[in-house]
């Protein structure tokens, strides 16, 4: 599959799921277990993506400037900094560490 195929497939899937929410009877998910499971599925996916984006590289795990950068961002999120500020701070941290501190 080309990138366009994957992209259209994923976009249509996400849109179809939204429409599904308006189509199925509310009773289907309106109890604690499905709600909790969907919420924790989201938490699980996002946490997995944090790990993979922060550590993934050629041949598995690569430790580099992304780690201190992510810690800086986490610190900023902890003090309720806006999303764009924390994300930009992570980029600047990694860029500076690579340019001036010899980080990979």
């Amino acid at each position: 599959m080309t990138l366009w195929h994957l992209l259209l497939l994923a976009s249509i899937a996400v849109l179809a799921i939204k429409l599904l929410g308006y189509a199925v009877p509310p009773a289907v998910f309106d109890s604690p277990r499905p709600r909790r499971t969907l919420e924790l599925l989201t938490v699980s996916l996002l946490a997995g993506l944090v790990a993979v984006q922060a550590l993934g590289g050629d041949g598995g795990v690569v430790l580099d400037a992304r780690i201190p950068a992510v810690l800086v961002a986490a610190g900023l999120f902890a003090v309720r900094a806006p999303f764009i500020v924390a994300v930009a701070a992570a980029a600047v941290t990694a860029a500076l560490l690579r340019a001036f501190a010899g980080f990979p």
Partner: protein, 242 residues
């Protein structure tokens, strides 16, 4: 004549629109850095239009994950179906407005709607936030993508670290309960441990099983749960990210 409650819904909606749209910039730039072109980036923001799913798709596909990127985006989009079930009762869209309402049903529009006290204000909050973010997010994506095109090597600018930080930001507001923190920690460790073993994209999918198992069994969970309608454990419409 607008009531105070409706005016408040407008105000809250607009402030969430401004804050959320701004990070469309980071999505646009990261998408280009991940190897997508301008049109592909724009189709994601115009059609997929769900921040978490969009970041997941570009992250996994850039790593070579292919179809796992589609699965990650779709699974992260599942919560929107839950929001839709709440919003159908709140918004009551008819005819051609139904698909429009469904399309703009995301974390923020749901949260702002549910934070209002009366039905008209809820509908106002939903539409102002949903449609406003759709417009702002797409304009910001375009600006970010054009900027990303000028940057060249994404690592030199730390954009790989920005991608990881974006997921931290999406995760952060969901880490209020002990159960969620435990699920996040185990999922992250499991995904990292699987990185050298599984093909790209699969560690995230396998790690997601942790959330499903804990969700179904309610390990570490509170015994008595409220059944309040709403997007996950959060009640207010402020300071959240899709």
């Amino acid at each position: 004549m607008q009531t105070d409650a409706v005016r408040r819904a407008w105000r809250e909606g607009v402030s969430v629109v401004v804050a959320t749209s701004a990070y469309g910039l980071s999505f646009g730039a990261l998408s280009i850095a991940s190897g997508l072109d301008l049109w592909q980036t724009m189709v994601l923001s115009l059609v997929m239009f769900s921040g978490g799913s969009q970041f997941a798709f570009i992250g996994v596909v850039a790593a070579g994950g292919g179809i796992a990127g589609v699965a990650s985006a779709a699974m992260l989009g599942l919560r929107n179906a839950l929001y839709g079930m709440s919003m159908r009762r709140v918004v009551q869209p008819r005819g051609a407005l139904l698909p429009v309402a469904a399309h703009v049903t995301i974390d923020e529009s749901t949260a702002v709607a549910l934070a209002q006290d009366e039905p008209r204000a809820q509908r106002t909050g939903f539409w102002v936030t949903g449609v406003g973010i759709w417009i702002g997010w797409n304009l910001a994506t375009l600006a970010g993508a054009l900027l990303g095109d000028l940057l060249g090597d994404p690592r030199q600018w730390g954009l790989d670290a920005a991608a990881a930080a974006a997921f931290v930001g999406l995760l952060w507001p969901r880490l209020k309960a002990r159960q969620a923190v435990a699920v996040a920690a185990v999922s992250a460790v499991l995904a990292a441990a699987l990185l050298p073993v599984l093909p790209a994209g699969m560690p995230v999918i396998v790690a997601a099983v942790v959330g499903v198992v804990v969700g179904v069994t309610n390990w570490l969970g509170p015994r008595h749960e409220s059944t309040l309608p709403g997007p996950g454990p959060r009640g207010s419409g402020k300071g959240q990210h899709s």
